[in-house]
Amino acid sequence: MTDITVIIEGLLFIVGEQGLSIEQLSATLQCSEQEVLKAVDELSVFYKGFNRGIQCVNFGGQVKLLSASFIHPYAQHMLSIQKTRQLSQSALETLAIIAYKQPITRVEIEEIRGVGCDIMLRKLQAMDLIREKGRSEAPGRPILYEVTQDFMDVFQLMSLEELPKLEQIANSSSQELFD
């Protein structure tokens, strides 16, 4: 494959099911739309040429990589035998902060947790436990996050009001520190 085709493959992979438009690709790679189209064609042909689990499609000018459709029964089987996933401690902490402080930006969450949580937020979003809720008025207009209906289901909550007030937690936790 030519260099530009390879770069397009990598970029399409990273953005996933959202895909990229011919214009976006041409602007990113600083080359003409003709060249992009040619490279996208080369990529599609490359994927078709082999027996492959991935395909490259161009739907109305939006180019994306998709899994081949014969994979889906296997995916279904895989998901059905997968044990329920335990949320990691850091996932729980991030969710707790969002549930208590929503809507909240990534930077605000990171300030509370003291660690970066970019990847964690993407994971929680992919799991549909949190979603984007507009943008803050702060400089850079960062994305605001809030919890979803799925979150309420998973944690068996009728409403966020059911969670105890922070002051109640604070009192009990300072006791815990000293006993």
């Binding site: 992979f13 990273i14 953005v15 996933g16 099911e17 959202q18 990229l20 976006q24 998709l66 899994s67 889906h72 995916a75 279904q76 998901l79 059905s80 997968q82 329920t84 996933r85 335990q86 949320l87 401690q89 729980l92 902490e93 969710l95 707790a96 902060i97 208590y100 930077v107 300030e111 509370i112 947790r113 003291g114 993407r122 979003q125 992919a126 799991m127 549909d128 436990l129 803050s136 008025e137 702060a138 400089p139 850079g140 207009r141 960062p142 994305i143 289901d153 998973v154 944690f155 068996q156 909550l157 059911e162 969670l163 105890p164 922070l166 937690i169 604070a170 936790s173 815990e176 520190l177």
Partner: protein, 246 residues
Amino acid sequence: MFEVTIDQFRGPLDLMLFLIKEKKLDLFNLDIAELTLQYQNYITSMQQLNLEVASEYLSELAGLIEYKSKKLLPRDKTVLEAAAVEDPKESLVRRLLEYQQFKDITGQLQDRYLLRQQIYGKALSRKEIEDVMPDLLVEGNSYDLIRAMKKVMVRVSLQQPFETKIAARELSVDQRIDMLRRMINRFPASFALEECFADCPDIHLVLITFLAVLDMIRLGELLFTVDGEQIYLIRSTSDDGYNGNY
């Protein structure tokens, strides 16, 4: 006089390794008295500069002085052999060598880490397999959440003293700008200049803050108006081009 400060060291062992290299001491035939002298000089010079020296450095210093004084005492071979204790010099050298090993590996880990930061995965394809996704993949209950929040709060409260200590230290204008940006997010669109000084414990930070505000005005992040003797700042609403969309 040293041109380095205590902040550059990751602990007393790191400092000792630095001194051994700097003063060309022989690690395998370590002159404890000389190392103690150098180490003590260093700590003293830091204290003269009013730099905070963490207790770990002082406790290792006490250890070094103890080794040194033991060496000066007349040796009673029979007692030493009977006790079969490890020679304090050997144990110090062993600790230094072990620490050096881990110090060395960090470079490699850092390289690997930075390289990994430059390759990306893709998110789970939800839409593609939406019809086959089971309803609930995740298990949990509200108690898990409450416990997690408790942990966060305990950690935050434990970290508070450390953060205050840092705030009281000398901040650079750039650091102060970062702090102001966060503070200002919580303010209304326009606010009095004094608001920016609300958390300043001393005149030094007030000055730094003032410089930071001037810089932010220069950068176009803040606008100001003067009303009588009162200066008001206004958050600039101009979009800086950032939008998280692809």
